[in-house]
């Protein structure tokens, strides 16, 4: 049972990591244009400064 003492916090921490990643992605505008992102992945050009995170 003592295993739970660290397993539960570990599970919560990992889940929280996922949540944080999602909130970060949302904040950095990765959900702004879901249609366009599909095409951008096929772009041959090397990514330049305009492909960095938008304002």
């Amino acid at each position: 049972m003592t295993a739970l003492a660290w397993l539960v916090p570990a599970a919560l921490f990992l889940g929280g990591l996922g949540l944080a990643a999602f909130l970060w992605a949302l904040r950095s505008g990765q959900f702004e244009d879901l249609d366009g992102a599909a095409y951008r992945a096929l772009e041959d050009e090397p990514p330049d400064e305009q492909d960095s995170e938008p304002e």
Binding site: M1, L4, V8, A11, L12, G15, G16, G18, L19, F22, L23, L26, F31, E32, D33, L34, D35, G36, A38, Y39, R40, L42, E43, D48, E49, Q50, S52, E53, P54, E55
Partner: protein
């Protein structure tokens, strides 16, 4: 390119107001503009739009959004402006127009605000559920009570901050309603969540098993999903409508007194200004032709397909299409004095006359929320009266509130609408107004406009098979240099038969008369009106074109505006659904009658002015009928606004697209049928979903009032009804993209 990365600019502090360091490294924060861009459909478009904008000097970054059909540009106001970027996009073939930033941001922010809460509530709900399942399965006996208690405290630890953070949209809305002495759906929701959480904390302290953290947080999660979907559809529809609105404000090429040309928004044109209208462009303002001659397509205004010849002194109207040659036009009326503006006023009057539509979910909430309160309260009082302790009574009352809480009810309409909108989107129908889906489900009459709606709005060659292939080929060779609708119809017919058409060179076009080609052998070949070819044709405005070469007899080509290929079937299908179909047109009675007969419509009226169409619709409305108006012309716009629901093709006048609830693309008429059937299926599904929610309630509420509902049952009931409702709606979204 030597752009500085965005990140540097974000952190850059404007140290000095006067940029004395030269223009390449200006330490000034760039401004941003947002442009609506039309016809951006694929990754290639996306890239060329961004490239074109980036090439404009002074533009820092450009990022296009395919979903929103918008381009966001960071630029230095000292070096460039919106007009430069619009002109650059115009050169690569995209129409763009500036968008007011403030309106659009608010919707986006609300959407993100909800999405953040959906994420947090989803995370919390999953983790609490994980813990709860352990507790429930251990309840039969082999779990250490101290461990179960620790798990309950752990749930409380996750639930409390989540409820505070993610419950905010409901709490603030409920608070606002209570302040205004009203009740809305959010009041019972907030009450259930707060009571359930508060009571669970209390019960945890008393080491009781009646703990509802899982139910409270899951309730919050499902409700937030519903809110988010609803908001997402609203934001998308509003964004599309706003794009349309910005684009139609239009850009005109203004000719200054010294001969310089500049692109300006049509709204700044004043009487006396000179504008240039290139071939294929729409006239931006009412005016008279100051220079040049050509053919003008007025079909959007008059419903007449035959182009009208225009020469110096001819009056032209905003929204008409220039066909054959560049025209210089002196503006006589602009902005609020144009024919367009007059139509807008008619439209506004029509809209005011229309009762505000009350959406289904609101109507449901109005009935539902008092019932929930009454049930919760009577449970509490009933148990107290039977001598239970207040804790027991309150626990049972909370169970009632949680069970009745309109989880499925709150999801019922948004999931269906999202599914219906994406189904229609795949089939080329854009939903501009979300509650249009509800209104289109109620209609019992469909009214079509003729030109451009029931018909394609462009002439087609008749009896093409009676013309020899050689004649068709050589006539098409001539015609391919002209943009006149008859020429294009001829070329299209020739292409259909021969595959390709070789364009002739050195063809002279005399607007309003015809085309002339002098062959190297000195032969004259003519294509045009009867007079132009020197033959005795039916005089006047008959839709015919003659072709004459010197050695052969003249040949006559006849044209008429054809029905959309599936018009008759679509109308038959609409009738089969039990709908009345009518045809209203501004065109001549005889033409309207023959079109109606061909399409299979029994009720029709011709020679109607915009006000007559509204009168016709009002008459039907007074009889209690609900009309779907389908139209494209400027003259239809007021009727579109007045009708119960409205659709217009994407080729319609801008103002009509603005007035319509739906805009459809393509040459077929079937999207009208699709929209009607999807609308009524969506309505049926919304009711099915209400039914599911009510069925759950009718079983579970008595159980909850009797005190049989445990936290486990509450959680199962809530999630299964919500999932069922969502799956039901998902049936609508399926199907291929057409």
């Amino acid at each position: 390119m030597t752009e500085i990365p965005t990140a540097e600019f974000k952190n850059a502090v404007p140290l000095d107001d006067s940029p004395h360091g030269g223009q390449h490294v200006a330490p000034v924060e760039p401004s941003t503009m947002t442009l609506a861009v039309e016809d951006m459909h694929c990754g290639g478009c996306l890239r060329s739009v961004e490239r074109a904008a980036m090439r404009v000097p002074g533009v820092e970054t450009a990022r296009a959004s395919l979903a929103a059909k918008r381009l966001t540009v960071a630029y230095h106001p000292s070096e460039t402006n919106e007009a430069d970027v619009i002109a650059a996009l115009d050169r690569v073939g995209f129409d763009a127009a500036p968008l007011e930033a403030s309106k659009q941001d608010r919707g986006d922010q609300r959407q993100k605000y909800l999405l953040r809460r959906v994420a947090v509530a989803g995370f919390a709900a999953m983790n609490i559920m994980l813990i709860s399942i352990a507790v429930w399965s251990g309840e039969s006996g082999d779990m250490d009570p101290a461990l179960a208690q620790m798990f309950r405290w752990l749930s409380a630890l996750i639930a409390l901050p989540t409820v505070l953070y993610a419950g905010d949209p409901f709490f603030s809305s409920a608070l606002a309603a209570l302040k205004g002495r009203r009740l809305n759906m959010d009041v019972p929701i907030s009450l259930a969540i707060i009571l359930a959480t508060g009571m669970s904390v209390y019960q945890t302290m008393r080491e009781s098993e009646q703990v509802y953290f899982d139910a409270a947080v899951m309730l919050l999660f499902f409700l937030l999903v519903g809110r988010y979907l609803d908001e997402a559809l609203r934001v998308r529809a509003r964004g599309e409508a706003q794009n349309l609105l910005s684009l139609q404000n239009g850009i005109a090429t203004m000719l200054a007194a010294d001969g310089t040309q500049s692109k300006v928004p049509a709204s700044v044109l004043r009487p006396g200004d000179r504008i240039l209208v290139a071939v294929g462009e729409r006239v931006a303002a009412d005016g008279v032709v100051a220079h040049g001659s050509g053919d003008i397509d007025q079909s959007l205004i008059t419903g007449e397909t035959m182009p009208v010849a225009a020469s110096t002194g001819t009056e032209v109207y905003a929204g008409t299409l220039n066909l054959s040659r560049g025209l210089e036009i002196e503006v006589t009326a602009a902005d609020d004095a144009t024919l367009l503006a007059e139509i807008s006023r008619l439209m506004m009057a029509a809209e005011q006359g229309k009762a505000r539509y009350r959406i289904l979910a609101d109507r449901a909430a109005r009935l539902y929320s008092p019932a929930v309160h009454a049930l919760g309260l009577s449970t509490f009082i009933g148990w107290l009266a039977f001598g239970a302790t207040w804790e027991t009574a309150l626990t049972y009352a909370i169970a009632v509130l949680i069970i009745t809480c309109p989880c499925a009810l709150a999801l019922a309409v948004p999931v269906v609408q999202i599914a219906a909108a994406s189904r229609l989107f795949k089939r080329g129908v854009m939903v501009k107004v979300p509650d249009g889906l509800e209104r289109i489900a109620e209609i019992d009459t469909v009214v079509f406009d003729k030109t451009g709606t029931l018909t394609l709005g462009e002439p087609q060659l008749l009896d093409a098979d009676n013309v020899s292939t050689e004649t068709l080929a050589s006539a098409a060779t001539l015609a391919s240099s002209s943009r006149h609708p008859f020429s294009r119809a001829l070329v299209a017919a020739a292409q259909a038969r021969l595959g390709s058409v070789e364009p002739a060179r050195d063809v002279e076009e005399t607007p309003g008369e015809g085309l002339l080609l002098k062959t190297p052998e000195g032969e004259e070949v003519r294509l045009g009106s009867a007079a132009w070819c020197n033959v005795d044709g039916a005089d006047g405005r008959t839709a015919e074109v003659w072709y004459r070469s010197e050695q052969d007899d003249p040949v006559c080509f006849r044209f008429s505006d054809q029905l959309r290929s599936d018009a008759a079937e679509t109308i038959a299908a609409l009738k089969a659904r039990g709908l009345d179909v009518a045809l209203l047109s501004g065109d001549r009675d005889t033409v309207v009658a023959s079109t109606a007969a061909e399409a299979g419509i029994n009720v029709f009226a011709g020679e109607l002015k915009p006000a007559d169409k509204i009168a016709w619709l009002e008459e039907r409305a007074n009889e209690g009928r609900k009309v779907l108006m389908v139209g494209d012309g400027l003259n239809d716009a007021p009727a579109l606004a007045a009708a119960h629901a409205s659709m217009s093709p994407a080729t319609a006048a801008d103002i009509s697209q603005r007035a319509a609830d739906f805009v459809f693309q393509g040459k077929a008429l079937s999207p009208v049928l699709e929209a009607v059937s999807t609308g009524s299926r969506a309505r049926k599904m919304a009711f099915q979903n209400f039914g599911v929610a009510l069925a759950y309630n009718s079983i579970c509420v008595p159980l909850a009032m009797a005190g049989f509902v445990t936290p486990l049952i509450a959680a199962i009931v809530m999630s299964s009804s919500s999932i069922l409702v969502t799956l039901n709606a998902a049936r609508l979204a399926g199907g291929k993209r057409s």
